[in-house]
């Protein structure tokens, strides 16, 4: 499961610039709800392996800060100015956690995955004695036609089938051979459109529907009927569509589909409660959950679960008993992701009380009531975690200490964004203590969110006397990070950071969005493999400093001029476009990638 990394980091802040086209940037626009969607690139894990199940939560999109939130948070900070811990900042981001699937974002074309022709040919079609068409038919030879039509999106194939008999036949074969279908269902789709498409491909194994019209149980029934071999199902939902499926209906569907392995569904606000019984189900993602009453997960082979709850305040789900039940039935769980404002220490205790021997990825986000004690519980029950995401929690540097104590041999991904009680020393400690770390997200940690007022303009002039003692650790912070394996680092929104030194030879992606106070002369990037640096919301001078530093690195690597001695004794010096000398000798036809580092400002 890949999540969209960049989106979260860029769009949550009031001053941040969302990456989506047409996204809005001003504070004023945050009042509007809604999800932003963007292109789904390989996500936060930074490891581009296909099929890689990286259980990383990303928050994206719409900033849902209502005036009431702002008021209450100001009140809280005033009263607690003398305490050593701060309450978590107001939830300025709306985490419509989007997972980055390799989904075509082109809404016009939804690519159907048709298999290679070899898999589907009947005996008679294999004979290509006459590779050239009869001139009168004006068509293409059979082999070519298959290659062409299989590249059409589903709706294109429907049109192609109506062209002539030969095309109809080939289209029919393609449908029958189709194992994977990704379909966008438009807002005013004809009734039965999905049904008629599904009936053409009875061999379907993977189905992904992007619903722009409402979806209810009749869709489930249609899928159940038409796709007997379905193993992977995904229902995505546009902002305007409604998902009316109830818990009972979902439960029936899951119970009946004996080979369903993976179920992902968005917009689950009408479930109300459910009983899911399946021995085949191994992946379950449900988002936009709200006020679930009873929940039973009778899925002994469940390996990955992702439960995202809606941001609404009055969610009455009893998370503790839900997690309790989960732990009891689904003992094979490896990846757990939960996002809910109501996550708390007691939920963590329910989790650690379960015997989940295979747990490797744990993500419990948005829970301000998750504390250092929770970290202690997690560390003692699940010491082999590879990913830990406690973004939005109240853990402090001592929680970090525990993490570094227990997990150095396994942890490769640590996400602690929006954790107001961790400091730059904590972050540095992590990078020094966790040798396997590949991804680290410390967005919005070294900052004072209550002073994030974009209307006040550039905050270059700090009036030091106005800053209370407790906030001193949030300004003029310096980070020195030297790490051999780190691939992705996010420091978005760390406006308290004014100096940064990075020596990370494997670093590919660096997010410095809204690091407003990072001083251009106190930045040193020695990361030869850097591919992108995000610098939206940063000072102009900083952006220039970044650009010059990354291109210096690039140029430094280009001082290799391989030359070749030719047979006649002459020497030809070839000025290469590639960085390393060894590919020159490489016999294979290797495409040489020119590594340019992109500095992204929007």
């Amino acid at each position: 499961m890949q999540h969209h990394y960049h989106h979260r980091s860029q769009s949550h802040l009031s001053a941040g610039v969302p990456t989506t086209p047409g996204g809005e940037t001003q504070f004023a626009s945050e009042a509007k709800l809604g999800k932003k969607r963007g292109s789904y690139n390989c996500g936060r894990c930074g490891l581009p392996k296909k099929g890689h199940s990286c259980h990383v939560a990303i928050t994206t999109a719409a900033i849902e800060s209502t005036p009431t939130h702002a008021d209450s948070s100001v009140a809280i900070s005033a009263t607690s100015s003398l305490s050593t811990t701060r309450p978590p900042p107001l939830r300025q981001h709306c985490s419509n956690l989007r997972r980055a699937l390799s989904f075509d974002d082109d809404v016009e074309d939804v690519r159907g995955g048709f298999p290679e022709p070899e898999a589907a040919y009947d005996e008679e079609d294999l004979q290509f004695d006459d590779p050239f068409p009869d001139p009168d038919s004006g068509g293409f030879p059979p082999g070519c036609l298959w290659e062409i039509l299989r590249r059409l999106p589903p709706v294109g194939l429907l049109a192609a089938a109506r062209v002539c008999k030969g095309w109809r036949e080939t289209a029919r074969k393609l449908w029958r051979a189709a194992e994977e279908l990704r379909l966008r269902v438009p807002a005013r789709a004809q009734v039965g459109f999905v049904g008629s498409v599904l009936q053409k491909c009875p061999g379907l194994v993977r189905l992904s529907l992007r619903m722009e019209s409402d979806v209810d149980a009749t869709m489930l029934a249609c899928i159940a009927f038409s796709c007997p071999n379905l193993e992977f199902m995904e229902i995505l939902k546009s902002d305007t569509a409604m998902n009316r499926i109830t818990g009972d209906e979902l439960g029936r569907f899951v119970a009946d589909k004996r080979c369903l392995k993976s179920l992902k569904m968005e917009g689950c606000s009408n479930l109300g409660g459910f009983v899911l019984c399946s021995s085949s189900l191994s992946t379950l993602w449900l988002s936009d959950l709200f006020s679930l009453s009873k929940t039973v997960f009778n899925c002994p082979n469940l390996k990955e679960i992702s439960l995202e709850f809606s941001r609404q305040q009055n969610d009455s789900t009893d998370l503790t008993s839900m997690v309790d039940g989960l732990g009891r039935y689904c003992t094979r769980l490896q990846n757990i992701h939960m996002a809910s404002l109501r996550l708390s220490h007691s939920v963590v205790l329910a989790l650690t009380g379960a015997q989940l021997r295979w747990l490797r990825m744990l993500s419990l986000v948005l829970g301000s009531e998750i504390t250092d004690a929770s970290v202690a519980a997690i560390a003692s029950s699940y010491p082999n975690l590879e990913l830990l995401d406690l973004s939005g929690s109240s853990i402090s540097d001592s929680g970090i200490g525990m993490i570094c104590n227990v997990f150095p041999e396994t942890l490769s991904r640590l996400l602690l964004a929006l954790c107001p009680n961790i400091t730059s020393s904590g972050i540095q400690f992590v990078t020094a203590q966790l040798p396997l770390l590949e991804l680290m997200d410390c967005g919005m940690t070294i900052c004072d969110p209550n002073s994030e007022n974009p209307l006040a303009g550039e905050s270059n002039d700090w009036e030091l006397k106005n800053i209370s003692k407790t906030k001193l650790h949030l300004v003029h912070q310096k980070l020195i990070i030297k790490h051999n394996r780190l691939k992705k680092l996010s420091l978005w929104g760390c406006s308290g950071l004014d100096a940064l030194y990075l020596n990370c030879p494997e670093l590919n992606d660096l997010n410095l969005n809204s690091c407003k106070n990072l001083h251009p002369e106190r930045l040193l990037l020695q990361c030869g493999n850097l591919e992108s640096v995000h610098a939206s919301g940063c000072q102009e001078l900083l952006i220039e400093a970044i650009e010059s530093q990354v291109s210096n690195d690039f140029l430094a690597m280009e001082n290799v001029l391989p030359c070749k001695r030719l047979a006649d004794g002459s020497k030809r010096v070839h000025v290469p476009h590639f960085l390393s000398a060894q590919s020159y000798d490489d016999d294979k036809k290797q495409r040489v990638k020119r590594q340019r580092c992109n500095v992204l400002v929007r």
Partner: protein
């Protein structure tokens, strides 16, 4: 276009090809083996005398060989190749058709994919009638059949 020697090739062995309209071409082995059929010939040691290609005309063969040479160049970057391909395949229909046939006949997988993708792009978004006109395809359905196939392939938003 005659011999296509690229400074990177060290074997120096060349294949002679003869198109349908008797144009001859000399091409480096490393370039020619982009085509599976030449690859087998080279491997089997059958490469004496010009290889006749009665199904490909000279103009098309020249283009195809140019493509092969570009793709056999180890110094070219992926970005440059993609740009080249985009320009290469942006041709009119008749040429595209010839390229498609040639790639199919010579079994040059990547070129075939490129050409097919281009044809698919030309089909996308068109109605059946428009597709027929673009490719000069005869509608061989009877009116009843046409209605039947229309129902079978109902578009999301209407007829």
């Amino acid at each position: 276009m005659s011999s296509s020697s690229s400074p990177m090739q060290s074997t120096g062995r060349k294949l002679k090809l003869k198109s349908k309209d008797d144009e001859t071409f000399e091409v480096e082995e490393a370039v020619a083996v982009k085509s599976q059929i030449f690859k087998y010939m080279v491997e089997d040691g059958v490469s004496n005398g010009p290889i006749p290609l009665p199904n490909v005309n000279g103009k098309t063969l020249a283009r195809v060989l140019q493509w092969c040479q570009k793709h056999a160049d180890p110094t070219i970057t992926e970005d440059e190749l993609n740009k080249y391909d985009a320009g290469f395949i942006d041709v009119d229909q008749a040429v595209l058709y010839d390229l498609l046939m040639a790639a199919n006949y010579l079994n040059i997988e990547e070129l075939l994919k490129l050409a097919c993708m281009r044809v698919a792009d030309m089909i996308k978004g068109k109605s059946p009638d428009e597709i027929r006109r673009t490719f000069n395809i005869k509608n061989d359905f009877t009116p009843e059949e046409e209605e039947e196939v229309r129902k079978e392939n109902a578009w999301a938003l209407g007829p």
